[in-house]
């Protein structure tokens, strides 16, 4: 009984480590593979469109709503202390440091990550990847690498857009609706937000999240069992694993950046 459990633990560990190893190898192949600018660049642009531009709408809408909610919630608390002038920094700092990068990464995992897993899983199921290999074209370079880099480029851009829209959303509710002074909204924000400490750290966070989400999404797709159940399972796993990984990495990064 106990030995059985132990054995299962061992088997799971080996499986996990092997999976991580495969993911790392794949990532290495995709990232450090010799890039071919002439053929690679159009592919990158196409993927930037699929991964980045098509995610823009959901990012803008969510950013606006989250900023508005922050403005409303922050106001009701701050007004009790007569400190509604601090609404600007509250909205800006929560978005810049946490919500911008994290929520963008979660939405990105749900929208682009799952789509990538399904797409690559389907390519595998319909033998497109195999046939590319047989045509002596490396699928890591041709399929994985452009998607990976498009994700890594898109995510910080989307996070920045999300944050900016969120701050405007907070302005919309706090200033235009609830009557916080516009001048103090912006000036208190400027007094409390630091370009390096807050803005750049937020962007660094979102670059790290991009690596994590893309690595998970592409690996799950590439490793998917090429059947319809296998792809469905891989897609779900992408969203779950990527979201958890983002939250875990967020804690580590927050501790490193703001904890000390």
């Amino acid at each position: 009984m106990f030995v059985d459990r132990l054995q299962r633990l061992g088997a799971n560990t080996i499986q996990t480590v092997a999976g991580l190893g495969r993911a790392t190898l794949m990532l290495m192949g995709a990232v450090f593979g010799k890039p071919d600018v002439r053929k690679g660049f159009p592919l990158l642009i196409k993927q930037l469109y699929v991964v980045g531009v098509l995610s823009l709408l959901i990012i803008v809408v969510s950013g606006l709503f989250i900023g508005m909610v922050l403005g409303l919630q922050g106001y009701t608390v701050l007004v009790k202390f007569g400190a509604e002038g601090m609404l600007g920094p509250l909205v800006a700092l929560s978005l810049l440091r946490e919500l911008g990068p994290v929520v963008t990464a979660l939405l990105f995992a749900g929208r682009a990550g799952s789509a990538l897993t399904a797409e690559i899983g389907l390519m595998k199921a319909t033998e497109q990847i195999s046939s590319m290999e047989m045509m002596a074209v490396d699928p890591l370079r041709r399929i994985i690498a452009p998607r990976f880099w498009a994700g890594v480029i898109s995510m910080p851009l989307l996070a920045v857009v999300f944050t900016a829209v969120g701050i405007l959303g907070g302005h919309l509710v706090g200033v235009d609706w609830l009557g916080v002074d516009a001048g103090s909204y912006w000036s208190a924000m400027q007094a409390n937000v630091d370009l390096y400490q807050d803005v750049f750290n937020g962007i660094i966070k979102s670059i790290v999240f991009a690596f994590v989400v893309m690595a998970i999404a592409l690996h799950k797709g590439f490793d998917a069992v090429p059947t319809s159940e296998g792809i469905a399972k891989a897609t779900t796993e992408t969203v779950v694993t990527a979201s958890l990984a983002v939250l875990a990495f967020d804690f580590v990064l927050t501790a490193l950046m703001f904890g000390g």
Binding site: L122, M123, Q128, M135
Partner: protein
């Protein structure tokens, strides 16, 4: 067997391969001669596709060797393998056209990847290949807009885009209506003759294979159980070969999956 080395395109020697716990090939050997259509037949699920992937170097055998034009595929480095694959080509069962590109771009794909030819020349080449399979008019369609038979013909055009020396067909007749089947049979034979290709056809469609193959291997139970020209095979002594060729339900390959005696199992319930 006294064959001249250069006469052999693919030489499989004592191939042993297993997938997980399941042994698929146990010391199997076969030869594919240059310029011929060699067919590999056998019941479903004996790993015929696996064999093509072994020849293509996508899988590695446990024991034995696979020689392609005298050079060992499993022992090649990755770069050598990729170089070698440029001279072979494979037609997958589903066609495996890239779903994001038009038919034209699909056929142009290997040319664009491996050559630096100007776009006008690529256009000419692609149109020639599409003309050969009769799909010149469908060049701007997406793969999802093609019927199964058309998709396979488009994939065939892509497979011959770089004029390979060896072309491997994975179940080219499966799931085709009689007309498309006839077209594919005609194309395989014609391409083989016109382009001087060597073809390997993996299939379980007996009449079609018998009509185009120069040499046939029947594979079952991890071994080659019969080989020869279609004529020789029809005269083959093995009951297994005869059962397969005639499509009989019961015989050397039993109708029933391996099970405990029927009566015993019925009694257990009582």
């Amino acid at each position: 067997m006294e064959r001249i080395l250069s006469d052999l395109m693919v030489d499989i020697q004592n191939l042993t391969f297993s997938r997980g716990e399941r042994l698929i090939y146990d010391g199997m050997s076969m030869q594919v001669k240059r310029g011929q259509v060699t067919a590999i037949m056998g019941p479903s699920g004996i790993g015929k596709t696996t064999l093509l992937k072994l020849i293509g170097g996508q899988l590695k055998p446990e024991r034995g060797d696979i020689l392609y034009q005298g050079r060992s595929i499993p022992k090649m480095s990755r770069a050598e393998l990729y170089q070698t694959r440029k001279s072979m080509s494979m037609l997958f069962q589903s066609g495996a056209l890239f779903s994001e590109m038009t038919v034209f771009d699909n056929v142009a794909f290997p040319i664009r990847e491996h050559t630096k030819l100007p776009e006008t020349l690529i256009r000419t080449m692609v149109l020639m290949k599409l003309e050969a399979v009769g799909l010149r008019g469908a060049r701007d369609l997406m793969p999802s807009e093609l019927s199964g038979g058309m998709a396979r013909r488009a994939a065939l055009a892509r497979a011959i885009a770089l004029d390979p020396e060896l072309i491997m067909y994975d179940e080219p007749f499966a799931g085709q209506d009689p007309i498309s089947m006839g077209i594919v049979v005609k194309l395989i034979r014609e391409l083989n003759n016109a382009l001087g290709l060597t073809s390997i056809v993996v299939s379980h469609d007996v009449p079609e294979v018998m009509s185009i193959a120069d040499y046939v291997y029947v594979v079952a139970e991890k071994h080659v159980i019969g080989e020869g020209t279609p004529e020789q095979l029809r005269q083959h002594a093995s009951p297994l070969v005869q059962q397969f060729l005639k499509g009989e339900a019961d015989g050397a390959v039993p109708f029933h999956f391996k099970a405990a005696p029927y009566a015993d199992e019925l009694m257990e319930l009582l």
